[in-house]
């Protein structure tokens, strides 16, 4: 690949590619990530579609949060089971609201760790009513308690 063909003007996400330089030598080029620049909007649209579909089903009590995060992170029940440290059949049971209600607090905590969220996020969806509100979970020394911080983003 010629150096000029590889260049992507995208400061936010850099990658290192190997290219053919003008003098015919091959070497590294730090440049912007092509896929992220041109297709990140599609990735976030897909996520949004999953959220919309799942929030509706969560609200109706058709699925548990396990299904929501499983689809969001494109994971299988077998992989989640291995990461949480329980059997695949238990993960399948936990996919229904009734089955999820029987999961222990410790198991829910382990699910939250695998999905990278606070324990509280396994039971609630946080939706800011105003656009410029930033929401973030702050960890505490207590693994079961996080502090939800809501504030206006600096402009």
């Amino acid at each position: 690949m010629k150096e000029n063909d590889a260049r992507v003007d995208f400061e936010q996400h850099q990658v290192l590619l190997y290219v053919e330089k003008e003098d015919g030598s091959y070497g590294p080029l730090q440049t912007g990530a092509y896929l992220v620049k041109h297709y990140a909007d599609d990735f976030f649209q897909k996520r949004h579609n999953i959220e919309t579909e799942c929030i509706d089903k969560l609200g109706k009590g058709e699925i548990s949060p396990v299904v929501y995060f499983m689809l969001l992170y494109n994971m299988t029940a077998a992989d989640i089971a291995a990461r949480v440290g329980i059997s695949k059949s238990k993960v399948i049971k936990h996919q229904s609201p009734e089955g999820f209600a029987k999961a222990s607090v410790d198991t829910v905590k382990r699910y939250a760790d695998v999905f990278g969220v606070a324990v509280a996020d396994m039971f609630q969806l946080v939706v800011p009513k105003e656009k410029d509100l930033a929401v973030a979970n702050r960890k505490t020394a207590n693994p079961y308690l996080s502090i939800l911080e809501i504030g206006r983003e600096k402009t």
Partner: protein, 338 residues
């Protein structure tokens, strides 16, 4: 704050990138393409497990093999450790940092909180170098990120003890010793030949149906079945576009490592004074260009949701064509190192 003086640099791939940086820190100058080539890392494997929604592929050898092969071929000793207890793993890591030793840890990429959200996927075979501490954070050198980053203690613990495929089990390593007087030129020359031979053998001679060019063809033939696996069009599009990520942006240097391998063969040609390797470097660069054509194609049809049966067949044919080219290339390369 305590930080080891460590020259952070971006790498194309996490394992080859950190090995190049670690060796440089220990006085052995070896480019990232040389690490890739000498370790015989060029590969193709088609993977289908219950832990993945769609089958996947990889174009490098098994995680950890680059380190093992570099050590064996260049006489570099790496000290390695695994742990079952996070407290002991942390204590060991911190003791090494206190001694000024940059230490590589195997992690689940999902917990690298400094990378963008769209990159945070559960992948247990990512490697980063820990180079210091600041408050409750570690300072880490991650080849995929332009600068030294901070990672919380909690996140590093979770990342080092994630479970499932390639579970890190607290794995860490550092350079224990390098040959006195540096790596001798004759050792380096022999290592280059061994690396080429291994890669070429793996690509065309290994009698395993899911590895090398056979694996490429198996992967190609699996693609038309993907619409039946997908839960909806978005999921199919995501899987097809992931081919681009594996080829280009998940740490390959572009063209599924083939551009970096071209760079290696160019260096090898100079080192060994073999013009035929220079010719081969141009050929693998051209093959890399055609892998890139495939990756741009899948990104475009994926975004447009242009994913009918005819497109699946087109992708299949493109991958099979790459397999044919690589079979001819690596068979020729193998004859040059016999």
């Amino acid at each position: 704050m305590s930080q080891i003086q460590f020259q952070h640099k971006m790498g194309a791939h996490c394992e080859s990138g950190i090995l190049s940086a670690l060796l440089s820190h220990n006085g052995v100058a070896l480019s990232e393409p040389m690490v890739l080539g000498i370790s015989g890392a060029i590969f193709f494997v088609f993977i289908k497990t219950p832990h993945m929604v769609f089958p996947v592929f990889d174009m490098r050898n098994r995680p950890g093999d680059m380190r093992k092969n570099i050590g064996k071929r260049l006489g570099i000793k790496f000290a390695t450790q695994k742990f079952s207890d996070p407290d002991r793993a942390r204590a060991s890591l911190e003791a090494l940092l206190d001694k000024g030793i940059p230490t590589t840890v195997q992690v689940d990429m999902f917990y690298m909180e400094y990378i963008p959200s769209y990159m945070r996927v559960h992948f247990n075979a990512h490697f980063i170098v820990v180079v210091g501490r600041e408050g409750g954070n570690y300072l880490v050198s991650d080849c995929y990120y332009p600068s030294i980053s901070k990672l919380s203690r909690d996140s590093l613990d979770k990342a080092r003890f994630a479970k499932s495929d390639f579970a890190p089990k607290g794995f860490q390593f550092y350079v224990a010793s390098t040959p006195a007087g540096g790596v001798k030129e004759d050792v380096l020359k022999k290592a280059v030949m061994q690396g080429i031979k291994q890669s070429a053998f793996n690509m065309v001679k290994l009698p395993v149906p899911f590895i090398g060019v056979k694996g490429m063809r198996r992967f190609a033939d699996n693609i038309p079945a993907w619409p039946k696996i997908a839960r909806n069009m978005d999921a199919l599009s995501h899987a097809i576009m992931s081919i681009h990520i594996t080829l280009e942006e998940r740490g390959t240097g572009g063209g599924g490592f083939r551009f970096m391998y071209a760079s290696f063969l160019q260096e090898a040609a100079k080192l060994l004074d073999k013009t035929e390797f220079s010719d081969m470097s141009k050929k693998i660069m051209a093959i890399g260009d055609r892998w890139r054509e495939l990756s741009l194609f899948v990104a475009r049809v994926g975004k447009n949701r242009d994913l009918g049966d005819n497109r699946m067949q087109e992708i299949r044919q493109m991958i099979r064509a790459r397999a044919d080219e690589e079979e001819a290339f690596f068979k020729t390369l193998l004859t040059m190192v016999k």
